[in-house]
Symmetry: C2
Subunit: 344 residues, 2 copies
Amino acid sequence: MENNPLRTEISNLGEFGLIEHLTKSFQLKNKSSLVGVGDDAALIDNGDWLTVVTTDLLLEGIHFDLMYYPLKHLGYKAVVVNLSDICAMNATPQQITVSLGLSNRFSVEALDELYEGIKAACDYYQVDLVGGDTSSSLQGLIISVTAIGQVKPDKKVLRSTAKKGDVICVTGDLGAAYLGLQILEREKQIYLSQPDMKPDLEEQEYIVGRQLKPEARVDMIAQFAKSGVVPTSMIDISDGLSSDLMHICKQSGLGAIIEESGVPIHPQSQEMALKFNLDPITCALSGGEDYELLFTIDPKDLDKVRLMSDIYMMGDMVDASEGVKLHTKGGNIHDLTAQGWKHF
Amino acid sequence: MENNPLRTEISNLGEFGLIEHLTKSFQLKNKSSLVGVGDDAALIDNGDWLTVVTTDLLLEGIHFDLMYYPLKHLGYKAVVVNLSDICAMNATPQQITVSLGLSNRFSVEALDELYEGIKAACDYYQVDLVGGDTSSSLQGLIISVTAIGQVKPDKKVLRSTAKKGDVICVTGDLGAAYLGLQILEREKQIYLSQPDMKPDLEEQEYIVGRQLKPEARVDMIAQFAKSGVVPTSMIDISDGLSSDLMHICKQSGLGAIIEESGVPIHPQSQEMALKFNLDPITCALSGGEDYELLFTIDPKDLDKVRLMSDIYMMGDMVDASEGVKLHTKGGNIHDLTAQGWKHF
């Protein structure tokens, strides 16, 4: 400790650095604890089944702005982001708990709206609300959701098990959620300066929807099971393709090369990015909150994966010494950087 | 909805009323979801084992005051209160997740202290930290802990399964944690008016310790297993004996009668209550935060329970029509009221 200042700012470490710093002295003691901190979810051995557990904390003013985020959508999203982490282990979500901190600004009617969204997600994804905690807060809305799922031991997928030569795939399309947030932020600024202006979000319905109503890809988990494919590694895209691919590379001890032409971007995202003077590929790489699945497969499974819908092949896992790179449409090679979603 | 006002205050419903209101439309859909909202923890069927899950949200300014609550103790307590809920299902805690919301007031060194306490609890109770989430907050410290445990299906204990004639028992002693809080609050006021005064908490070490370093009764779960006793119902005392006994009564469809002379109160609690001009039995009934186990046993198990240490028999389960009552040392009968720990 000799050269440490008396006070180290959390921002010096960043989110991932902080988690590593705080948890490095914790060793797993119970043989049922198969996977702890460091993947999308924890894995707990229960014999026939592995129990999969993940948790997320959403804070008003940090993760959402109630000025443009309807409470019903917020409730839905708070559930979905956790289910997405369960999916990233190739598991099926089954239960959630929801804890709330509420300031006296919130009425029962406001909470009913929030719970309508939570219930809509529970119904759509067939998960059960099995617990939680409710408390008053001094300021703002606090939502803590824990999701629990199941997976058979031989079907579990970690971040750390990609192999050199594996094909990098992604579901859906990327960058739209980030652009949706830009639209909502812009409309908020317009509203603040001209309260009479009515926002017209209709043309941007798809993009705004990707921000306000993300979905967890449980359909993909079902497709994998049906096709008999087990990805060699997987993560959900919450921080952005670039940052999340880095996690797979780092934890698998490998590098990666991505083809720009293989990164799926929706035509509306393409168009909207240009309107905002943003590079569409940058939005796809660093936007985050897409909640799509990024995974690698053994080349021998390529034929099976080609028959599955909504999956895009983007590149290959390579030696760590080759780094993590993007091959652009123009033929250039760029280093990817982890521009995760930084809170601190 | 015709006669509803446009806005219903949360305080109109209270904590338990609010939870019931928000969750009543949720039905359990998965056959693995054995017990949902309404007990100390949820029970999930995994075949050989039931997985037990509980979660608690602790907010600065609502649940703790950092002026007298050392961060290390807070970390320890945040874990313990969740482990206690796992014990209340007669289960063994095995894993936790910890999510934090942090304002920039907190340094890495402050978090290290908090995590020292979390680690001390993990080491003492042999549980693994397997996940979590870390985020900045606009104000104050937010701690959300989820605990996961295991129990064999035939050993699980609910709140709802007490039978008429069962004997009501409690572990440890009651009321000390509440009195400890009174001492800390008093010392805070003294400090605020006379910052040079050094608090002398030594004589109240036991009582203050019960507030600052509560323990979960995992030792009792081990004792039950060793003695071959399965309580007929159980709950942990977080809100106070009165309120928690009401939960068992309501959920089992029964009444109860408690003997004042059977309620265990530590001599130091007795003495301190009188110094504060409080009735010791009131502190024991309504204080809360004791994290002892309140349970009922079949009279046929009485001989086994008598051989176990630190267990006190306080009364009997009776018909619901007889209400929930206290038989005082003076020979009077009082109705017990649920003076739970009200946030709203």
